[in-house]
Amino acid sequence: MGEILRLGLILMLVALVAAVALGFVNSKTAPIIEEQERMRRQEAMRTVTSSLGDSLQFDSLAVEGLANPYAMVDRRLAVVAVSDAVSGDRLGYTFVAYGKGYSSTVQTMVGVDSSGRIVGCSILYQQETPGLGANAENQPWIGQFEGKRISQCSVRKDGGEIDSITGATITSRAVSDSVREGLEAMREQDLFEGGERA
């Protein structure tokens, strides 16, 4: 039994040292990572809403019952309200759409104006096939979402106005469907003015 205890303790010792080292490094890197993540989001939010104005203010919005179509992340869709930093007028929203792509969950940052028209999209994260699905990140494709309304926001095959990436229908569909579903969820909660009713 003593032998066993000794072995266990040695392993514990090693693990202890490892944990200490990791804890130390983590305490140094975690904030950087967090900051970076935040910056990226911020940057993405700014990019997708750049057409709404120059000085914008972002506030997260709590709407009861705003269901996240992709419930695996969060049951509530985290919508950020975009308003003019000066006047405080609400100009639109941003949110992150999650769509199950070919080999990863594609995250798209979506910017819409207050009427529900998309003003910009950019891919936050994807691990799709290089050369195919990964091309979703590229401007010519993701750029076509700009100006689209909810009903147009699906691939042509499904009757929408989004051209699929050749050979990567699944990724195309994942992005457009997830964006549309997010918008639909917001529409349900009457977040958009006029026009966009069911």
Binding site: L22, A71, M72, R75, Y102, S103, T105, I170, R173
Partner: protein
Amino acid sequence: MSASMLMAAVLASPDTGGGGVNVAKMMAIILGAIFINNFVLSRFLGICPFLGVSKQLDSAVGMGAAVIFVMTLATLGSWLVYHLLLVPMELTYLRTIAFILIIASLVQLVEMILQKFSPALYSALGIYLPLITTNCAILGMAVLNIDERYGLGESLVHAVSAGIGFTLALVLMAGIRERLETADVPPALRGLPITFIIAGAMSLAFFGFAGLGG
């Protein structure tokens, strides 16, 4: 850890939020893991045993079964540890080290239990267990489940399906390699090279499943 805590954690897992299991999503996970994103052929996980244990059909089947078994158990263990221990304590950065420890000890434990209580099963599966510790498919599965934010149920389904997918690839490969034993493969390509080429061809054929369940 009390049972109620466990229950709470499981219930709190996202996938049960929608009320009831989403069949379509489950199908997507299953088909995805077996065919579309086959661990070996598409995600490049578990290549070493895939190359190593695919020489004979018998061992391929045994290995496959062992992988399914351990993968499921490891997923269960790692998911619980991650969501009940690491997440609450904000120690998620320890996941790699924690998972590998869990997997290693789990394999050992299973081996021990099997040997003790079911010698028949041990001789069929047990001999493959040691090989699984360093099978990146298992660790990959644990990490993927976290990255994909799967709930416990989904994770388990994912694990079983991925294991089946792995077994499928392994068994097919073993059959082909047995046949190639008596084929006129150019000497330079015999052994590993041709195995890679077959894997490539298999991977290409599996493209046919693209979009299934999606």
